[in-house]
Subunit: 365 residues, 2 copies
C-alpha cells in the first residue's frame, strides 16, 4: 500500500521511558524506580485535583463539554483576557500540531533552533514542511533573523525556556524579535516551562499582552509540568481571535477528557502548590549546579525543572550513563538522539536527587 | 495571515449540546436535564472503572505509559490477536484522523455514504482530500462499487452500523465487498456501535479475522458507547502490521491520558455490565419502534443505541421539535445539518424514554 509519502522521512518520537517499561525490561520493583526523564513535577499534583477526580469518577460516560467554557473562563480570569483567546489541547503538544496544520501545507517552511523540542520537527514532517534550523544548538536570535530574512518561513518556533537544553531568552529580546517579523509568519512561543523561568529571573517572563500586540503570535502553556498533570494531557494556546478561528478548524471535537478539564480548573485554584513546587525546584536545582561544578561537568544554566549535563569532560558516553542509571532504577533522558553527548535530568525531590548524585559520582569519577 | 487553504471549506463540527450548555442557555436545573444527543451509555460505566479512577487519582503527574502495552495486551487477549495489531486513540475519532493523514495527501479521494459520521468528511477536508459520496443516504454497496471503480479512492469508509441513521450492512456483504477492492485502497470499518448490532442480529457482527484476511482493512472500535467511557476519550483501531507502521507515525506521543488507559482495562473486565446494558437497550429500543409505529413516524430499523425519526409525516420541522425538547430539558440531535428533516434520539433509561415519548406526543400529535 502507498501511504502519505511525507511519512517516509519520519522516525517515531522517543518518549521518556515510563516506569512500567523499566519494571518490565529490568525487573526492578516499582517502588525503587525514580523517573527523572520527562520533567514531571516530582511533588505530584495539588490535592484539590485528586479530590475532584474522585468526586467525578462515576460521571465518565458523558462526553466532555466541548465548549470547555469553564476551563477557558478560569484561564481568561488568570490572564485577564477574553475566553475567545484560548484553545485547549491534549497537552500543549497538540496545540503545536494545530498550529502547523492550520498554517502549513506541503513545502511550507518552519524555522527552529537546532536543538529544541523534538515534536516541532515531527509534526512539521508529517505535514510535508521544510525544516530550517539555526547552526547554534541554543536559541540565537541573530541566526533566527538571518534565516527568517533568507527563507520567509511560515512558522517560527521559539522555545522559551528551551527543552532539552534549559536556556531561556529574555522577554525583551523576544519582543524586539517579534517587531521584525512580518504578519504572515506565525510565531509560536512555547512556554511549557515558563513558571520556572519566571521564578528564577523575572526578565524571562513572557507577558501575555504579547498576543494582543502581535496578532501573529501563539503563546503555549501546559498543565504537564509545574501543575503536575502530565498524565491527564492538558495544555493550551493563547492567541488573537484571527488565529483561533483556524486553530479551531483543526481541533477535533472532544480532544480533551472531561476529567482532564476538571483537573485543569482545580489545579489553577491551588497557587500554594505551585509556589512550593517552584521553591523546592530552585533549592534542588542549585544542588545540581554545585554537583556539576564540583565534578567538572559542563552544564547550561537552566530556567526549567531539568538540567542538561554535557559529558565532554567525562570518560563516559551519555548512553552508558543513562543505561547505568536505568539499571539502578533511575530513568533520565539520554540526549544522544539530539546528536549530543549529554543527559537531561529532571530535578527530583531531595531524596531522589541524592540517589542521582551518588550514582553519577560512582560512574563518572 | 494566510492559513492552510484547505481549511476555508471547513465548517466546524457541531457536537451534541452538553448538559453544561443547556444549563447555561436555558437556565434548567442540571438534575432535570436528560441528554440523549451523543449516544452515551445511559447506565453510566462499570463500577470497576470508577473504583480504578479513584484509586489512581493522585498519580496524575506522571505521563502515561506511551507503549500502552497493558491495554493493548488486554485487547489482544479479547480478540485473540497480537498486541501489534492495535493502536489506541483519543476516541476512535482519532484513529479516523490517523487513517486519513497516514494514507492521504492533497487531492486524495475518500469514498463514503451520503449520510454518515460527519468527522470522515471534516478530517478529509483538513487534508485537502476530495470527497465522494453515494447518492443514497444509507450504505448502498452497489453504489459504493460503482464509485470505487470510477474514482479509485484512497480510502473507503463503511460505518457498520451507520451513525446517524442506524442501519447496518451484513458482514457477509461487507466481506464480499472487500474482495473486490484493490490492496492500495484502505477500507475503514467503523464499528463504534458493533456491540449493539451484534446483539440484535449476529449477521451484522464483524469478524476480527477480517484484518488478517485483508491487509488493507482497519477496524475501529470505541469505549465511548456501550463501555460508557465517552468522557475519557478512548478508542482503538485493529489492522495489519503494515498499516500500523504508518498509523504510528502519525500518532502523537501520549495521545491518551493515563486514567483513560486504566479505564479501558477495567471496562474490559466487566462483561456483565455490557450484557445488562445491551439487554436494556434492546427492551427500550422496542418501545421507540412501537411509539413510532403508533404515531406514524417513519424510522429505520436501528442496530445501535439510538433511533432516527424522519418527520415527513409530521407537522413539525426537526429543529422545532429539537428546540421544544431542549426547552423541556431533553437534548436530542437535530439532523438538519445532514440535510434531513429528522431527529436522532439516544435510547435512554426507562424513565428518560417515558419523558421523551410524553413530550414528543405533545408536540407531534
Amino acid at each position: 500500500m502507498i501511504f502519505n509519502t511525507n511519512l517516509n522521512a519520519i522516525a517515531t518520537y522517543q518518549a521518556g521511558k515510563p516506569i512500567e517499561e523499566v519494571i518490565r525490561v529490568y525487573g526492578i520493583d516499582a517502588k525503587n524506580i525514580i523517573k527523572l526523564a520527562s520533567n514531571e513535577n516530582p511533588y505530584g499534583c495539588s490535592p484539590l485535583v485528586s479530590q475532584a477526580i474522585c468526586a467525578n469518577a462515576s460521571k465518565v460516560s458523558l462526553y466532555p463539554d466541548d465548549s470547555m467554557v469553564d476551563l477557558k473562563e478560569a484561564l481568561a480570569k488568570k490572564y485577564n483576557l477574553n475566553a475567545e483567546h484560548f484553545i485547549i489541547g491534549a497537552g500543549s503538544d497538540q496545540i503545536i500540531e494545530f498550529c502547523i496544520r492550520a498554517k502549513c501545507q506541503q513545502d511550507s517552511k518552519i524555522l527552529m533552533a537546532k536543538t529544541t523540542f523534538a515534536m516541532y520537527e515531527i509534526y512539521a514532517k508529517q505535514s510535508g514542511c521544510q525544516i530550517i534550523k539555526t547552526k547554534s544548538d541554543m536559541h540565537n536570535l541573530k541566526e533566527f533573523k538571518e534565516l527568517y530574512r533568507m527563507h520567509h518561513p511560515d512558522i517560527i518556533f521559539l522555545c522559551v525556556p528551551n527543552n532539552p537544553l534549559g536556556e531561556c531568552l529574555d522577554f525583551s529580546e523576544v519582543h524586539d524579535f517579534l517587531k521584525e517579523i512580518d504578519k504572515n509568519t506565525l510565531v509560536v512561543l512555547d512556554g511549557a516551562y515558563q513558571e520556572y523561568a519566571t521564578y528564577r529571573d523575572v526578565n524571562k517572563a513572557i507577558l501575555v499582552d504579547v498576543v494582543q500586540e502581535f496578532e501573529n503570535v501563539v503563546y503555549l502553556k501546559t498543565f504537564s509540568k509545574i501543575y503536575g498533570l502530565g498524565g491527564m494531557r492538558l495544555g493550551y494556546g493563547i492567541a488573537s481571535e484571527m488565529i483561533m478561528e483556524y486553530l479551531y478548524k483543526i481541533r477535533p471535537p472532544f480532544n480533551v477528557s472531561s476529567l482532564s478539564l476538571l483537573c485543569g480548573i482545580e489545579a489553577l485554584k491551588d497557587e500554594n502548590f505551585i509556589q512550593k513546587s517552584l521553591e523546592q525546584n530552585a533549592i534542588e536545582m542549585q544542588k545540581y549546579e554545585i554537583f556539576a561544578q564540583e565534578n567538572k561537568i559542563k552544564y547550561i544554566e537552566s530556567f526549567t525543572n531539568f538540567i542538561t549535563f554535557f559529558l565532554e569532560n567525562q570518560k563516559c558516553k551519555s548512553s552508558e550513563i543513562a543505561e547505568f542509571l536505568m539499571q539502578n532504577g533511575v530513568i533520565i533522558r539520554d540526549l544522544k538522539s539530539y546528536g549530543l553527548n549529554a543527559i537531561r535530568i529532571t530535578i527530583g525531590t531531595l531524596e531522589q536527587n541524592l540517589k542521582v548524585f551518588s550514582l553519577l559520582k560512582e560512574k563518572i569519577s
